[in-house]
């Protein structure tokens, strides 16, 4: 990959000598220009960020934002007929597929973390999720302290126990950790009284509750155990494409356009089942819109 890019860059610079009117392109933008196509990685069930509608078409808040970024790339490259391909990714394969060039931008619910920055690059955050807990209203759990000695479920890949310990500053609290295969399984463990609480990103909890049989039986309680920024993922150290994506997102946030998109996906009924998440902007999201940042979470 590196070698071929260097070779490409060399060819280009030679071509550039012959035709000095040509702007210098590198990295992903060069790849898009050469192939005449861009591939967007999307998720299949990250409601409402990036998921498949009834016709198996990827839609969502992140997809809308990415569409704007693609428009900006078209304008930048003067390629109005740029072909846009879509490729479904999972949390397991999204990073390798980004690195090997299968996808050019990933628009989903990917947390920008310092560990991941070793592998890939991130845009400014377009959402901030807070890790909290979903409980059954009749369980009597209102705060982290109520979890002592109880089983707490989280989905493979997060460590709720660590977050709880960090937030319990000094108090000893002992929870039994259990793990669901995916969010639906974890939620089922709370629903079937296997677990007292499900610790997860609040927006995902809101989605699970909204689409459960009896949404009124559940609530999201407790403080934020950690805030995590969601961002567009791209290849590492690829300044040109990052500049375009960041500029697009920042522009949407400054103009109020991003807020409109937020309302469309978080405060209104959304396909496929016309469920309304009723998820007003948190203080953290407002802050992220006011001062866009690409800082990763530790």
């Amino acid at each position: 990959m590196r070698k071929s890019l260097t070779a490409l860059a060399l060819c280009l610079s030679v071509a550039g000598l012959a035709a000095p009117a040509h702007a210098q392109l590198t990295g992903t933008l060069q790849k898009i220009k050469d192939s005449g196509a861009i591939t967007i990685g999307h998720r299949e069930s990250s409601v409402p960020f990036s998921y498949l509608d009834a016709n198996q078409k990827p839609i969502g808040y992140a997809m809308d934002l990415c569409a704007k970024a693609v428009d900006a790339i078209k304008a930048e490259l003067k390629l109005p007929s740029l072909q846009v391909n879509y490729q479904a990714v999972t949390s397991q394969n999204r990073i390798p597929l980004m690195q090997n060039g299968t996808i050019d931008l990933e628009c989903g619910s990917t947390t920008n973390s310092v560990a991941r920055q070793q592998q890939v690059g991130f845009s400014v955050a377009y959402f901030v999720t807070s890790v909290r807990m979903a409980v059954r209203k009749d369980s009597g759990v209102k705060d982290i302290g109520d979890l002592n000695g109880k089983p707490v479920v989280t989905t493979t890949g997060t460590t709720s126990d660590q977050l709880i310990k960090m937030n319990e500053k000094g108090k000893t609290i002992d929870v039994r950790n259990i793990y669901g295969k995916d969010h639906a399984d974890s939620f089922l463990m709370v629903e079937s009284a296997r677990a007292a609480a499900f610790v997860m990103d609040d927006i995902l909890l809101a989605g699970l509750i909204a689409s459960s049989k009896n949404p009124a039986n559940f609530e999201i309680v407790g403080p934020s155990l950690r805030d995590e920024p969601y961002a567009v993922m791209m290849r590492k150290d690829d300044a040109p494409i990052k500049a375009i994506v960041d500029k697009t997102l920042t522009g949407l946030m400054k103009s109020g356009e991003a807020e409109k998109l937020y309302a469309k996906w978080f405060m209104n009924p959304i396909p496929p089942r016309n469920v309304n998440l009723n998820f007003p902007m948190s203080a953290a999201v407002k802050a992220a819109f006011q001062n866009p940042t690409d800082k990763g979470v530790e």
Binding site: P96, Q99, T159, I178, K181, L188, R194
Partner: protein, 245 residues
């Protein structure tokens, strides 16, 4: 591919104070424990069912056949979910609550994996017994053996030797199938694999290591049973000895 290789991350500390290789070792431990326990369940139950299906008793044969049909035709992960999510809701409420709150998860996993594999082993044991000539049983009965004694002293010792290669495959499969138990809350090797990917994004290194772990487990099992096969061989008794014919 501009992948950032880092083999040293296995020695980094995780947020629970252990190192990543500790997570892998702990996962290996659970995988081994669940697999071997399920294998014990499967061998005992599978042998009983296999014998039942070769007896002259119609009722026993029907029972064994029904079991095998049921447990062989449902995917393992669906069976595990049945035991884990559905069964506790079907039993009386206080038993259900006990199953959900107090019963260790590994029991559910071992039962699920064991009963699933038992159906496959039952099929092999039955095939082994049926491959013997009818005269074996008749000779035993003529000597004054009871029906059970013809199994115990004549038919089963030969049948097991015949089906040992097939049982070896099954014993190796159980290690591979045990990966599915992560779906019902067992913190085994595949679970730790997913956790470590999520935490570090060093996908290639961890995939290579976990692949080697599973290969090693299955291969060690294979060697142990090959050794058993060699030690229990009766010259001239069984066809299909290794390397000949």
């Amino acid at each position: 591919m501009n992948y950032h290789w880092d083999w040293m991350f296995f020695f980094q500390e995780t947020d629970d104070g252990l190192k990543y290789y500790d997570w892998i070792l702990s996962g290996l431990g659970w995988t081994t424990f669940v697999s071997l326990a399920a294998l014990a369940v499967a061998l005992i139950l599978g042998s009983v069912l296999g014998v039942m299906r070769t007896t002259p008793n119609r009722g026993l044969v029907g029972l064994g056949d029904a079991y095998v049909d049921l447990f062989r035709n449902i995917p393992l992960i669906v069976q595990l979910f049945m035991w884990f999510f559905v069964v506790p809701e079907l039993v009386p409420e206080n038993i259900g609550i006990w199953m959900k709150q107090d019963l260790p998860y590994f029991v559910t996993a071992i039962v699920g994996l064991g009963l699933y594999t038992a159906a496959r082993i039952a099929e092999q044991v039955k095939a082994g017994i049926n491959s013997l000539s009818r005269g074996q049983r008749n000779a035993g009965l003529a000597l004054g053996f009871t029906e059970w004694q013809t199994y115990r002293y004549v038919r089963l010792p030969m049948a097991y030797r015949i089906v040992l290669p097939a049982l070896t495959s099954e014993a190796m499969n159980i290690f591979k199938n045990s990966a599915v138990t992560y779906a019902v809350g067992i913190l085994e090797l595949y679970f730790q694999y997913k956790q470590i990917i999520e935490k570090t994004s060093q996908v290639l290194e961890i995939t290579i290591v976990v692949t080697l772990c599973y290969f090693t487990l299955a291969f060690v099992m294979n060697r142990i049973l090959a050794f058993v096969e060699a030690r229990t061989r009766v010259p001239g008794l069984i066809v299909g000895t290794k390397g000949s014919k």
